[in-house]
Symmetry: C2
């Protein structure tokens, strides 16, 4: 059932000798299932109701479905053209807004904003430290709300009756102006798990004054509402078969489970995969290399940049694909070293360190070379190793193998951009992902939109209850397993028979 | 379970590798029955929680029991001496406040205020007409809140966490600033039946900022929350046997029922019974006659005034008792006429109308006579007749006789002051009330206090659901029955065998 219900009603006229209450006459027009849940009328609305009822035979009611009640937010004489809700994926870099019309039951607009908190720092940790002071925390909350409220103004603030918002644990705390002082020191304690159903007004959102907001609950310090929203989208918690849910953004967040259990884990696998650890890495913008090509037998690389501009650097996804090729063609060894025995113009040195020249300086915008250093490959191996190890650890905990997984749902920027075969070749994902992975894009945003359409509070609560969180910091088994995963694809090559075969053929099975 | 629960808790310290949320550590200290209902934390409290938890090993929590949740309103480092609630009986003349301490579980103070709305008019109808203008309605709401808030200030506003309030339908509308425009014209429609659980702040009460208020629901235009509170106090809706609940203030409000049904009815029987129709009637204050004595064979009356001052008039209760005596001693005929054949110095004329001299002018403060006119007796008969007829009508509806009633619960000023035998002699109550009546004083106030102690929202809801309201205006049977009840005690003397016997003995069976 939608989070906001719109009803056109024609209440019976009151007559002498019957039970006559204005609100009861309205309630009598509503379906039994709503009446039996219980209804609450907004106080300012209650004060208008007697006049509205007598000025118009027909009224359009806007009802908000709360967890245990229906809230009558508004009654309108003229049937409105649209009654809006907004799903918000509050990311640390981008705030994605999906404007949904409860009447036409469609997304009518998508808006993407930069998170204004970036002015304090690109990474969350900088912002968290900044927010230790109460006034700074309040500032973060304020600028975030202002940015969102500005977008609402363009949409039509008063038309928005419901928000469904998800964010990671830090983002959710910032937004609610909740202290993060104990979130950043051991044992890393968030204030709140389930977020009460506050009014949008109380939180500072400028929407309809009777508007409400649902905020996805948090399952842990590194497991926020965005993940819960993603799980809600995939419904892996309803299936009999086992699935993985992977969201690799800044962190790698992984859930393994089915209708019986959800085992969750998060690790700092992300930065490397996003390109953050590479000197020549860059965000996905004009001039960023989005794909390298390395035709068999050639000794130079071809590339494609965003906007076909002169290259300024490479996207993380491009270099990951490239590294898979470089590994297959022996430029990179299984240990992650640059092969010194390979005779190639690609082999260079940067500050005395071995590196691979990806684009020569005369071809770039800044006239400096674009390269990949050996130490960067090593860093990448730690990240990809962590990713694989998390998957391995979770299957071990449950006592299953990767073969028993029915689907690998891959969300986030990783899911959108990464070439799965390359990830498998590098040993970031098991070979089962080749045929069983399903990219779902912005799972968090989709989950938030789904909440506007379904508003099943109980289901969200059940997801959170089902989650068992594995804290990597206290899992010695993680470090044991990780050691083997710091190789390409793995110290135990037999875990990757398809990669082994490719390697023997020294060529990559890719699209080109 | 009390409306406010106070817990002293010692939350576990957070450790690495466990699920750690500040609020969850608090929730874990609470009893299972509270946890399973669901908890909501006040937002400003949530923002203090992380610091409070780390400054003190022990915290005192103040929880408010809502209908479907527990609301965590406050957490205090120092264990408070008292945590207060206040039950409010919002009467049209008097506002009675009962201050209850949830820690000692006792009423620590009773406060009685004049309802400031009296400045607009003593009777409700004047105020209702005044309130047709929005600004006037807002004014009534404002002065009522101000009067109550002033009392709170004396008690300690911030210590009060919960209010339980009942008032009749008009009083409840005034307080909530709800339009009464359609309450005063046919078909007399109140805005609301069940009053949502608003925060005290939203309604304008100055108590603890996270405080909440429960307002008793209304069952009809003439059947307000005060009646519901009274029923809640007597629990007649739980009993197998049938009971009457009578609240006679300005209106006569009557309920007949048991655990299976509640049949309710209200009529304008009150004013007469309260003394309002008598020229020489007065409110219960110094100099008001509270009792007349008419010794057998004497030809003058003795009296007792409040404060033993010179008389200024009489209370309604005193004249009712007197009328019973006057009837037994043949001064008043069964038709309600002053007996012209009786030779007595009491018989006088006032403006050409037959009257009885109760106190000669030389004995009164204002040196004017205090008397009772024949037309006043007639008016009284209409009121008392309405009262009896309502009782009769309800028993008829159910198909029972007065003998089947187990208890007549009598609340309100009527219950406090009226002599039941006199009421029976005059035919206001059936003879069964002689042995089966039970005065309960301020039933509404007691019910409101009981809500602080029990907070059973569902039970209140069930009372309201059980009520069937009989609208006298559309009951032709009422007028039929009323005709017979306009006599003393009734046109059918056989309905009152005890009175018949007394009358034959020409003396009253009273205490003196």
């Amino acid at each position: 059932m939608k989070a906001v219900q719109v009803f056109s009603i024609k209440p019976q006229r009151p007559t002498l000798g019957t039970f006559n209450f204005d609100t009861e006459r309205i309630i009598a027009c509503l379906p039994e299932e709503i009446r039996k849940e219980g209804l609450i009328f907004d106080l300012p609305l209650l004060r208008k109701i007697p006049f509205l009822l007598r000025e118009s035979e027909e009224l359009t009611l806007v009802l908000i479905k709360e967890e245990k009640y229906y809230f009558v937010a508004e009654a309108i004489k003229e049937k409105p053209k649209r009654v809006l809700g907004c799903a918000i994926d509050l990311g640390s870099t981008t705030i994605a807004l999906y404007v949904y019309d409860f009447i036409s039951e469609r997304i009518i607009k998508e808006i993407s904003l930069f998170n204004p908190q970036i002015e304090i720092g690109e990474d969350i940790l900088t912002r968290l430290h900044f927010a230790r002071k109460a006034e700074n925390l309040a500032y973060l909350s304020k600028i975030t709300l202002e940015a969102i409220n500005r977008a609402f103004e363009e949409i039509g603030s008063e038309e928005i009756f419901f928000l469904s918002l998800c964010g990671n644990t830090a983002m959710t705390h910032f937004l609610l102006n909740l202290p993060v002082n104990y979130l950043i020191v051991e044992p890393y304690v968030p204030v709140v798990k389930n977020i009460p159903f506050y009014s949008a007004k109380e939180l500072g959102f400028s929407i309809h004054p009777a508007g409400k907001i649902f905020i996805f609950p948090l399952a842990g310090t590194y497991f926020g509402g965005d993940l819960i929203a993603g799980l809600y989208e995939t419904e892996i918690y309803k299936k009999e078969e086992l699935s993985f849910y992977l969201d690799v953004g800044t962190n790698a967040e992984v859930v393994l489970g089915n209708r019986d259990f959800l085992l969750a884990c998060a690790g700092a696998a992300g930065p490397a995969l996003e390109g953050g650890i590479f000197e020549c890495g860059t965000q996905a913008k004009k001039g960023a290399v989005e794909k390298f090509f390395m035709p068999q037998g050639e000794t130079r690389l071809y590339y494609k940049t965003i906007g076909d501009e002169e290259p300024i650097g490479f996207c993380g996804s491009a270099v990951i694909e490239l590294m898979a090729d470089l590994f297959l063609q022996d430029y990179i060894t299984p240990e992650g070293k640059i092969n010194p025995t390979k005779v190639s113009p690609l082999l260079i040195e940067i500050n005395g360190e071995r590196a691979l020249l990806l684009i020569p300086p005369d071809e770039t915008l800044h006239k400096k070379p674009i390269y990949l250093k050996e130490s960067e490959i090593k860093s990448f191996l730690r990240s990809k190793g962590a990713m694989y190890t998390i998957l391995q650890l979770l299957t071990e905990k449950v006592g299953i193998t990767f073969q028993e997984i029915s689907t690998f749902f891959v969300a986030g920027s990783f899911g959108n951009h990464i070439d799965v075969p390359s990830a498998v070749i590098l040993g970031m994902l098991p070979e089962e992902a080749l045929t069983k992975s399903e990219g779902i894009g912005n799972g968090a945003g989709k989950g938030a939109v789904k909440f506007l359409q379904r508003a099943n509070y109980k289901e969200i609560e059940e997801i959170v209850k089902k989650i068992t969180y594995i804290e990597l910091n206290v899992e010695s088994r993680f470090m044991e397993l990780l050691t083997g995963a710091l190789f390409i694809p793995h110290v135990n090559f037999n875990l990757f028979p398809w990669v082994k075969k490719l390697k023997e053929e020294k060529r990559k099975c890719s699209k080109w």
